[in-house]
């Protein structure tokens, strides 16, 4: 019954089935909405955040999501600036994913702050010295950019495209895309870095604090690199998931392979730097404040295993897979690599935000462990479900995968 809206030459599941699918996604989504209302209505005592853990799941998730969303800017960068043409077949989808990631980032901040109605003070009374200000500005700017990148896709919907104006507008946008992408890329490079700065300028927290290059601590660059390394993997992951649900191939494997390979190299580079950074921190910075590196891993659940898992299992292993052509070609292995890589980034962001606060600084500080409560989980995951809904709709009605027709002739 919605066939008129569905792109020409492609097949979609029956409308009823589609409704059921959306309906199912609605349920967890609505629970998330309730969590939001609870936190806004009854204040943040409804979470497990406390004075020792002013940052928790929300901030960690924010850092993680933005890193994953890095796929959008990086693919755009490769497509429009480095001009790797194959990538035009996946850049649309990368954009859709990016839009949702950044929407989530902003949405989560809106519940994390204590006085959401005053949130705009961050722009109105901005403190240029604060990493958070930098982040806020870049994120919101880049979010607009992503929307602009997403808009032509919407306009290319069959029905909308009938009207002259949208058509031409979409057309012009497409022409402007490289420029827009360039802006986006610039913004992203910046805020991905600033996010790295967020924990690392805290010189009261020796676990996260880093010296650096000019005003930027080393993590500034680590974050950029890691975002570029995992972004594409996340894009691949979501693409493959979509394919599974769509029960058809949507992107040619060579396209995916390019992304995977690049991702592998970057991940490798990142790991090298990360290891250097960790070691130099361990031998110079940590001791300089009177605490052997070991004392930072003294309290469970934040023992040495954290570092090993993050760098080893979730770093080196996927890196090897992505770099070896044969392993990469093996689809299950590729998926595994992508999964590990994304998990690794998430873990890294959690460590940089939450473990930073978990480590007692004053010698007589008690260690307290923190785990998010239902409200934090529900409100964070809400964005996963919402993204699923948006992606489903976009996939159904918008020409996102240029190769779909070719790969699945009717």
């Amino acid at each position: 019954m919605d066939s008129a809206l569905i792109p020409k030459g492609v097949k979609r599941c029956p409308f009823g089935l589609f409704l059921v699918w959306i309906g199912i996604l609605q349920i967890p989504f609505l629970i998330g909405v309730i969590a939001y209302l609870v936190c806004w209505g009854l204040a943040l005592n409804q979470t497990y955040l406390n004075n020792n853990y002013p940052f928790g799941l929300w901030i960690a998730a924010d850092l993680g999501i933005i890193a994953l969303g890095g796929g959008a800017f990086f693919t755009a960068f490769l497509r429009y600036i480095i001009k790797i043409d194959e990538l035009k077949n996946i850049v649309n989808f990368a954009t859709v994913i990016g839009v949702m990631c950044y929407a989530a980032a902003l949405g989560i901040l809106a519940v994390d702050i204590g006085q959401p109605l005053r949130g705009w003070h961050i722009f109105w009374h901005a403190n240029v010295h604060s990493m958070l200000t930098e982040v806020a500005f870049c994120i919101s700017c880049y979010f607009t950019v992503l929307l602009i990148e997403y808009l032509p896709l919407v306009l290319e919907n069959r029905e909308i495209n009938k009207f002259g104006f949208p058509r031409s507008f979409a057309h012009h946008l497409h022409e402007a895309m490289p420029a827009i992408a360039a802006i986006g890329v610039f913004l992203s490079f910046f805020h991905q870095g600033s996010l790295g700065g967020v924990p690392s300028v805290l010189y009261g927290r020796p676990f996260a604090y880093r010296e650096g290059f000019l005003v930027w601590p080393w993590t500034f660059f680590l974050f950029i690199l890691s975002a570029m390394a995992c972004g594409p993997c996340f894009t691949i992951l979501i693409t493959r998931i979509t394919e599974t649900f769509a029960k058809k191939q949507l992107v040619k494997r060579n396209v995916i392979d390019i992304l995977a390979k690049i991702s592998g190299w970057l991940l490798g580079g990142y790991l090298v730097l990360k290891i250097i950074d960790t070691i130099s921190w361990g031998v110079s910075l940590a001791p300089s404040v009177g605490a052997p590196a070991g004392s930072f891993y003294a309290n469970q659940p934040y023992g040495w295993w954290v570092l090993i898992t993050e760098v080893g299992i979730l770093g080196i292993i996927p890196c090897i897979i992505l770099l070896s052509t044969r392993a990469r070609q093996n689809q299950p292995l590729l998926i595994l690599a992508c999964l590990l890589n994304c998990a690794g980034i998430f873990m890294n962001r959690w460590i940089m935000s939450v473990q930073t606060l978990a480590v007692p600084v004053m010698s007589f500080d008690k260690f307290f462990s923190y785990h998010p409560n239902w409200a934090e989980w529900a409100s964070t995951l809400m964005w996963v479900w919402l993204s699923a809904i948006v992606i489903s709709i976009s996939y159904r009605y918008l020409p996102i995968f240029p190769q779909e027709k070719e790969l699945n002739p009717l």
Binding site: Q115, L117, R118, W124
Partner: protein
Amino acid sequence: MKLDRRGFIQFSLGAGAGITLSPLPWKLTDDFSIWTQNWPWTPVPRTGEVTHVNTVSKHCGSGITLRKVGDRATKIEGRKGYPVNDGGISIQTAADLQLLYGPWRVPGPLRRVGKRGSGHWENISWEKAIGDVVQKLSDLRRKGKSHTVACILGSDRGTVPQLFSRFLKAYGSPNFIRTASCDDTYELAMSLMQGAAASVAYDLEHAKYILSFGCGLIEGWGSTVRVIKAHSIWRSGNLKERATLVQIEPRLSNTAAKADQWYPINPGTEGALALGLAHVIIKKSLYHTDFVENHTFGFEDWTDDSGRRHIGFKRLVLKKYSPNAVSRITGLSAKKIVRLATAFAKADRPIAVWGRGKGTTSGSLYECMAVHALNALVGNINKIGGVSTLPEVATETWPKVDQDHIARTGSGMPRIDGAGGSRYPFTRYLPERWPQIVNGHKACLIEALLVHEADPYYTTLDSAAVARAFDRIPFVVSFSTLMDETAYHADLILPNPHYLERWEDAPTPTGLQVPILGLVRPVVSPQFDTRHAGDVILTIAKRLGGVVGDAFPWEDYETVLKETIGDKWDTLEEAGYIEEADYTPPVWENAFATASGKFEFYITAFEQAGMKINKDLQCLPHYEPAQPEGNPATYPLILIPVELTRLANGAVGNPPFCMKTLEETELKKNDLFIEVNPKTAAKYRLSEGQDTMLETPRGKARVLVHLFEGIMPGVIAIPKGLGHTAYDDYLAGKGVNTNSLMGVTEDPISGLSATWGIRAKLTRV
């Protein structure tokens, strides 16, 4: 059609432009911003003229300055230059405004409706309320049952307590009871050993070596601020000048933590240690020869007129309390005992202080005497940095009460607590004993009970027995300002104003060596329909008429106060206090009003009072092991109640601010923590925060375990001051009342409670 669409667009473009060029969006943004910054439900305190007024705190006798904004009291601060505290303030006093303005105040006269303790009250007029009391009391008096009326007060010093005791005298009852404190024992010890009719005073400020037998000096012994200030003096100057504080206690209390040396000994063996130290001092003849030889009696063996030989303190101590013997009792090595004794005796200005915790329990007389004997040995009695008797600022005496027949017979009757009788001739009050006696008789011993500035229902040992005793008292009247447990279980509440709303005199705070009279004055307008207890007593007496009425010639309490202070009034009102700074205690020659006219190691008073003394031992400071209640087999551990600085455990409940300052290892939600040594814990497989059942012969309670290295293995400590049932849920329902776990162990010679702990067991739940 199309035109309309375009037209609309053009119109809205214009509108948009117009609005943008109008203040509307910009101003709205700004107003919205302001709106989000001042929520209507966030209180905005009223401003006004700031004034400062001085008065005296009833908690610790400190001078305080109230900061007022308009008619509102906004802050209590320590009064600069006040002799007791000079600017400092105690934690409870600092939070007092919460009690003044708090919902736990009794709003006006209340009469019980429904079951007692059900918390159902009706507001009645003062007329009616006082009418009820007068009715009841006159009936009893007519029936010749005047002696069945009792009063329980927190103190017997100052005009208001005096009015109560005078009332009983004129009315015809001997039953004026003061709630328990170390004064009970000290007054006894001082009267027996020095023939003085007052409690003790310590010149802590000038002492150089302070040997504390379980005194919670820092926790709030005597007048909190004053002692802490003294401690600061000990800690001032260069390290050599500094005084030495030695704490003897099985637990690392605040005082122990601040002490230079902490000697944990088996609980309840303080007396033995004191005698052990005496042994060393005598043996090494380090004692003050002049004082001991010329101004004491019963040090050496002596023969009485009948030619009977009596052993002296010296022989007794040398015979029975050798370091090794004492070491076996106390668990402290003989070497340490010798070292400690030597250090103490050789120190310049040593002083031995006694009175467990904050001094809210009476304790063993012989133990007190043993410690006091140490002071005698080093001859610091009435000396600078030594011990003297609590001095008071002299005030006018009241006209004698001329009693009628009923009054005479009534007040001639034996006291319901058995104090002052043939068995305990020297004891004045037995506040922990009356519940058993009341429960022990079929007949109703107390027909009417008046309670003022005390919370016996909460503070008396063995809560279960106390509750039963209360049930057997048909008429209970509380004068409480706050809805405390006693008020909650009373039949009638005649609320006294908060001390910030009323006049009263504040006599020398406990343990202070200088006579000080403070003036408590109304600095806040009355917040509720309250009436001064003094005035209420006057009215009751007048309404009863006859001799009772005649005994109270003053028309109101203010007159009583003014006339009592007499010609000093103007000075007092002007300065807010009178301090006789140049007071010095009498010299040894005329310091002792005992039969021998000397300081008595050997108490002669006992025989004179016709007490059956079969052994000299009974007249000398000695150690009588006071075994804690309970069978060691079933109750392997020893539970000691401890007092915390930040937790008020007296008649007044802990204010919310102070509750907030409790450590997370003292209270968690509504459960308190007991302190357990990790070794003990390991033995019973208990871990930090463990949910545990604490059981004693007197009761059981659910508690949490806190592992603390500062407590002696085998001993567990539980904080006093929790487990309130009245007040408000800022305080009520949190933790347990230690008194519900404790029983009364009577001191054989004084009849006072010598309870310092009880046997207990822990089982995981």
